[in-house]
């Protein structure tokens, strides 16, 4: 059995860069790295610890809400070999900084590429409905080869038939 602790904090480079140690009075004109910014999501931090043991495994899912919300749904699923058969956890309301935990059984089959355990959290928050989806690697199977074509004019193309 292996246990993986996986955190999805939706924290990007800029936040980390502001925490980074730097010498006092750095030289002039040191431009801070551009901050990453993702698409709008739900005010949640999703953490998953996977007990991945075939044939039956368990995912310990933790969702911390940074804002109060209502009509909350926490839905787990799997792709590429991971099968989850569990209904969504419904909550009428959550408070700011509330931590919701649940254990979700799943089956880790033969991975088709990189198999993933997926958590989607949705609900109504301060300005309306919001949703965040996070995925966690369960196993890494063989990656499907994608051979590019190098054309005579020097382009590396990944050509997919149009139909």
């Amino acid at each position: 059995m292996k246990t993986l602790l996986l955190l999805s904090a939706i924290v990007f480079g800029a936040c980390q860069s502001e925490r980074a140690a730097a010498p006092i009075a750095a030289p002039a004109n040191v431009e801070a790295p551009a901050a990453s910014a993702g698409k709008p999501g739900a005010p949640v931090v999703i953490t998953v610890a996977l007990d991945a043991a075939r044939p039956k495994s368990l995912a310990h899912v933790s969702v911390r809400f940074t804002q109060p919300g209502s009509a909350i749904a926490i839905q787990s699923s799997g792709v590429r070999g991971v099968t989850v058969d569990a209904p969504a956890l419904q909550r009428d309301a959550v408070a700011a900084d509330e931590l919701v935990t649940l254990d979700v059984p799943f089956v880790a089959g033969e991975p088709m590429g990189e198999s993933l355990f997926v958590v989607a959290v949705s609900g109504r928050f301060a300005s309306g409905e919001r949703r965040t989806v996070r995925a966690f690697v369960v196993d890494r199977g063989a990656k499907q080869a994608k051979a590019p074509t190098t054309t005579s004019d020097g382009e590396r193309l990944e050509i997919v038939p149009a139909r």
Binding site: E18, A25, A28, A37, Q67, A126, V133, D153, L157
Partner: protein
């Protein structure tokens, strides 16, 4: 026929007879110089071989006085190019000064059978090629005129192919992607290549589509006639490329079936979504083109009003791009190659877009593509001071983040106006979605300069035309917005917030100042009309007086700032700003913080960090910071504590301590 007597006479003097009759005298002719030949020309004219008494002398004289014929090709007059099967008429004249019998030789270099007459007439060239046709004329002594050459270029008739390239656009709705509502949209301004059917590497011709997706290709008729059309996921102007980050950056392309160009001159290419009609994609051919066209739509809007030179943009999309956070042991490069992109985002150099079906795929979510494109625009053409990080509708955030994200949201509605509803689909079968209307000015419970909802609604209303909302009297179009974003907003000495934008807009369109104030007053987004880029005098504190002033100033060398603690790092009240006007003096800037909480200091000028102090704890020091007289700086104080409220005193001391 000669008489018997003549034969006898010749038989008696055979050597003389043969020589006089013009037989081989090559050895003596080769020794005759041109000068000799000219000077003795008259003698040649008179030599009929009758003076047998001076045979040897006569022999030498005849040989040395022979003249080369003079040739001219009268048709064609110059080199010619023709199609396969066409004819060229060849005529030549050749005159021998000595009146010798002439021989003619046309060599058609394999393009046609050789000819031995001066004017062979119409010659047909049945095969393509370049033929060096030569004409040679020789006299009876073998002396030749200069060789004349005409090059005949024979080309096969060019193949041509016309058509239109379209892609499947699956509609994103409140209920996820609607595979029953798929529109064939033109693949606008994309590159098109024609390759050999049996060799995809052999590019025969290239072009690009127009705004309707139409293309025209021609290639030489001596090339392959069995070809394949390849649509490349890259626009030409501006240059936007969609590539696969999980395949070493290979550029997406989509190909037709084999085409026999001898049978057709029209070939439309439709790039399908690959949805199998039930529960899965069989391929994802349309996905890169959908993402590409959404980004192109954004650029095209600006180009419709301003001559913008857009920097090249790289979009990375992959069916393997999953909402998996980068692992602790994973380099960014390795994470992107594995498709662990976290979410759709702009990373400062490229857009990364989710593509994992049944989880979260964004290629058909136009508004998401444009939202991220908006970040590209800010970084490459304007300026973005946002600290980044998580965000969403209804959040109260650092005003730099609120502006950047509100800008992205607003732009997504602006580009697809009047479709102002942002849709993000996801889930198994792509059937889930959440939406918000960027034109909804009343969506936020706590409107303000710290709310991306307020920013998006304000910017959208600045742009849009026509409204039944009393507070929305503006309709600037995209031009003034562009001018502000690449002008005053880019160069603001403050930070890029809604204050700096509105202040710049009021100056850009002064006639609309009252309308701007009316708009920003709605719901109290701004408590008072915007006075400057620093939000001086702002009264909307979002329910917490500690949030004001937006930009603090030193009072007798120090200022006390109040911070809101919490686990995040980009929430309103966690980062505070202090103005510092340069006067040519060097200062030491320090912080002293309550509750042993951690704060960091950074000094920026025009958005560029010029000094910083980031250590553990609340006591930071930037020593001997030399200010430039007249320059404006902002000290960014980042509070990293968890106490609900704590304070930090920022002090300014002249010179080194």
């Amino acid at each position: 026929m000669r008489s018997l007597s003549s034969l006898v006479a010749c038989g008696a003097a055979a050597a003389l007879c043969l020589t006089a009759c013009g037989d081989d005298t090559k050895s003596s002719r080769d020794t005759t110089s041109p000068t000799d030949a000219t000077s003795k020309g008259d003698a040649v004219d008179g030599s009929d071989g009758t003076n047998a008494t001076d045979a040897t002398a006569q022999d030498d004289e005849v040989a040395s006085e022979n003249h080369a014929p003079v040739a001219e090709v009268t048709a064609p007059a110059a080199d010619v190019s023709i199609a396969v099967g066409a004819t060229v008429t060849f005529t030549a004249t050749c005159i021998d000064p000595d009146g010798d019998t002439l021989t003619h030789a046309w060599d058609f270099d394999g393009g046609a059978p050789d000819s031995a007459v001066a004017s062979p007439g119409a010659i047909t060239f049945a095969t393509a090629g370049v033929f060096a046709v030569t004409y040679t004329c020789s006299d009876a002594h073998g002396l030749a005129a200069d060789v004349i050459t005409r090059t005949v270029t024979v080309t096969a008739p060019a193949f041509a192919l016309d058509g239109t390239i379209t892609y499947d656009k699956v509609r994103a709705t409140n209920f996820g992607l609607d595979y029953n509502d798929i529109e064939a949209r033109p693949a606008r301004m994309i590159e098109v290549k024609l390759v050999a059917a049996d060799d995809a590497e052999q590019v025969l011709a290239s072009t690009s589509t127009d705004a309707d997706g139409a293309y025209h290709l021609e290639w030489p008729g001596d090339g392959p006639s069995d070809v394949v059309l390849v649509a490349v996921a890259r626009t030409t102007t501006p240059k936007i490329t969609v590539a696969d980050n999980t395949n070493e950056g290979a550029i997406y392309a989509s190909s037709s079936d084999a085409i026999d160009a001898t049978l057709t001159t029209t070939e439309d290419l439709h790039i399908e979504s690959g949805w199998n009609g039930a529960d899965a994609y069989t391929h994802r051919a349309a996905a890169p083109f959908a993402a590409l066209d959404a980004a192109y739509a954004a650029a095209a809007l600006f180009l419709s009003e301003r001559a913008v030179v857009f920097p090249d943009l790289q979009i990375y999309w992959s069916a393997d791009n999953a909402p998996v956070e980068r692992g602790a042991e994973e380099s960014e490069e390795a994470a992107m190659a594995a498709g662990h992109i976290g979410t759709s985002h702009w990373n400062g150099t490229a857009l990364y877009i989710l593509g994992l079906q049944d989880v979260d795929a964004d290629e058909f979510d136009d508004h998401i593509i444009v939202h991220e494109w908006g970040h590209y625009f800010e970084h490459k053409l304007g300026r973005a001071d946002s600290p980044g990080g998580d965000h969403g509708q209804g959040d109260t955030k650092d005003p730099r983040l609120a502006f950047g994200e509100g800008w992205g949201n607003a732009l997504s509605g602006i580009v697809f106006a009047p479709d102002s509803v942002y849709v993000d689909t996801s889930g198994v079968g792509q059937v889930d979605a959440f939406t918000f209307d960027v034109d909804d000015n009343d969506a936020d419970e706590t409107p303000g300069w710290f709310s991306e909802v307020s920013v998006q609604a304000t910017l959208y209303d600045v742009f849009d035309s026509g409204s039944d909302e009393a507070f929305d009297q503006l309709a600037t179009g995209i031009g003034p917005i562009y001018d502000v974003m690449v002008g005053a907003q880019k160069h603001t000495p403050a930070l890029t917030t809604l204050f700096s934008f509105i202040d710049a807009l009021r100056h850009a369109v002064p006639a609309d100042s009252a309308a701007i104030d009316l708009l920003t007053a709605h719901n109290g987004v701004m408590g008072v009309p915007v006075a400057d880029a620093y939000g001086t005098g702002e009264t909307n504190d979002g329910g917490d007086p500690a949030n004001l002033p937006v930009f603090a100033s030193f009072d007798e060398g120090s200022v006390e700032l109040t911070f809101v603690g919490g686990p995040e790092t980009n929430t309103r009240g966690q980062i505070r700003f202090v103005r510092l006007s340069g006067d040519g003096v060097s200062y030491t800037i320090t912080s002293e913080t309550s509750d042993d909480e951690d704060v960091d200091l950074a000094i920026v000028r025009d958005g560029v960090e010029v000094a910083s102090a980031r250590t553990e704890g609340g006591s930071e020091r930037i020593e001997d910071f030399a200010t430039e007289d007249g320059a404006e700086y902002v000290i960014i104080v980042s509070g990293l504590g968890t106490t609900e409220h704590y304070t930090s005193t920022i002090s300014l001391e002249e010179g080194a301590p």
